[in-house]
Symmetry: C2
Subunit: 318 residues, 2 copies
């Protein structure tokens, strides 16, 4: 019964929208009797979505957190907000779990009504990006690649090689992965008849995507490791060592374990050790804490800091 299914969905949407609902209200909204509401609530429960109910004057229904994830019923604005937000996170590479985020974003964008997609696009172009020293990647390119991987669609794109020369590639995209601060695409290059790793920020995809292909066996089951091996230069290569003039506890609060390790020296200072792929990023990151610090290595970072200091001195004026 279509009406029943639609009503169940609507009921779920109502329950997600507000926390407490009286049976009466729900019945009114759904245009059925309260008896039917009770039955529908039961159905949701049978489907595994725990709807709590309380009796008495202030009673009502309330959707709880269950064992599995219920369908998310978003209104237009929320959908746009998630697309924009997730896009910002993904393209800046913050938050961790990058691949999954891209997958989720791709899923969302695929079913996003065109009207909303436009709004997302408009927002992305007018929004201050999170850009923390590293290059950002266009979120729409990422979702396009993610979808092509998922759907085994052949992909054609312009690729700007390191030297600046452009080439036209026809590929069978297999995986999207992050290494360091960059996104990479692992794909089978048709013309070269071999696996290639492409930097996503150098890709300009050609739409529409091509015909479907049958996936090949990957050159290595652990794609991240494979990319990490192949893309030797750049990613998380340089060791950074610095003394921070602040208590270790404070530093630990501000600096996530993921970024690096903090070792106390005395009550007032501590040592930070981490790896960075991007000297600029590290420079801004260290500067942003507001503590005094000294960098011991790499020299490159010290040079960059000196350079930055010069620029800022000039910027501050006479």
């Amino acid at each position: 019964m279509l009406q029943t299914s639609a009503r169940l969905l609507k009921l779920l949407s109502l329950l997600e929208m507000r926390r407490d609902w009286a049976g009466d209200e729900l019945a009114g909204r759904l245009e059925v009797t309260t008896r039917t509401v009770r039955r529908d609530v039961d159905k949701l429960r049978e489907l595994g979505y725990p709807v709590h109910a309380t009796t008495g004057t202030a009673g009502g229904y309330r959707l709880g957190a269950g064992a599995s994830m219920p369908p998310l019923l978003l209104d237009d604005e929320e959908a746009v907000a998630i697309a924009v937000g997730l896009g910002a996170v993904v393209s800046a590479g913050v938050g961790g779990m990058e691949e999954t985020s891209v997958r989720a974003l791709a899923k969302l964008e695929q079913i996003l009504p065109p009207k909303l997609r436009k709004r997302v696009g408009a927002f992305r172009s007018h929004t201050v990006g999170i850009n923390f020293g590293g290059e950002t990647v266009d979120a729409s390119v990422l979702t396009l690649l993610a979808n092509a991987c998922r759907d085994h669609d052949r992909l054609r794109f312009e690729y700007r090689a390191h030297g600046g020369s452009e080439s036209y590639r026809i590929t069978e995209p297999h995986r999207l992965a992050r290494a360091g601060r960059r996104w990479y695409l692992l794909a089978w290059d048709i013309d070269k008849a071999d696996w290639r790793i492409f930097r996503v920020d150098r890709i300009t995809p050609v739409t529409p995507t091509g015909p479907r292909f049958t996936p090949r066996e990957l050159p290595d089951p652990d794609v991240s490791a494979y990319i990490g091996r192949k893309v030797t230069i750049g990613a998380y290569q340089t060791k950074v060592r610095a003394t921070l003039h602040c208590p270790a506890e404070l530093a630990r609060q501000r600096i996530p374990e993921r970024y690096g390790t903090v070792t106390p020296i005395d009550d007032e200072t501590c040592e930070l050790e981490s790896r960075a792929d991007n000297v600029d990023g590290s420079a801004y990151y260290l500067a942003s804490f507001g503590w005094d610090f000294e960098v011991h290595e790499p020299q490159e970072l010290k040079d960059r800091l000196a350079e930055l200091a010069t620029r800022l001195t000039k910027a501050a004026g006479a």
Copy 2:
């Protein structure tokens, strides 16, 4: 029929998961005949979710983008990724549409299974935050406040006033809003019997939330404007004027309209004018472009840059 509804949901989930599905496959997954699959597909279409179908050898079903947003069926990982990502965006205040993002996040967290919620929490604490000069706000505090506003739950919290003194507040929370780089809560303070505006980063909420209350008429229908008027100090108050040593076009590419206006001076330089609430933020932002620049006002920003330059000189070592 429960089975039918559940099957429709499962069908939708399958269609969201992969792009192309053969009728056979779907029938197998759903354990019904292909005839029933066809009928179910029809039902989805009637519900407004456009399912395209192609005949022939490479035929199959495919979910398209419709007029309205279909329910998002996320797997566990995707749900966690969205919660983490959106949390990062919201607490850093990037991406725009802050209020809606918080609403969406609150909705998601409310139905997030406890197991996943733990994973989200773990991730948040181990993750490098986006922290661009401004204070970040705890995403879980924000969602808690958003939910309290939505559900009209009384809220108790510890509040650290400007001077550092703590007070215990019992409030009726009404709205959450951003002004400048900060989050504010507009609430009715029970003890003071008046409206108060609280900075979210100074709030430590006490769980659980209290009993429900009936919302009052807001002191001003335009809450942002109201907060903007009341919170005179800080928010987007200072005018920033700087000369950038780069072509105007380039600057316009990097600097979103939202942040400020760029006026060309000559082919090599341009002027940037914007407003900032946060001198630190502006300092890092300007520095991050990699162009030479000079700040004309405010003096505070120049001081900060000079200070930063000193620190960086020291950091770069002898």
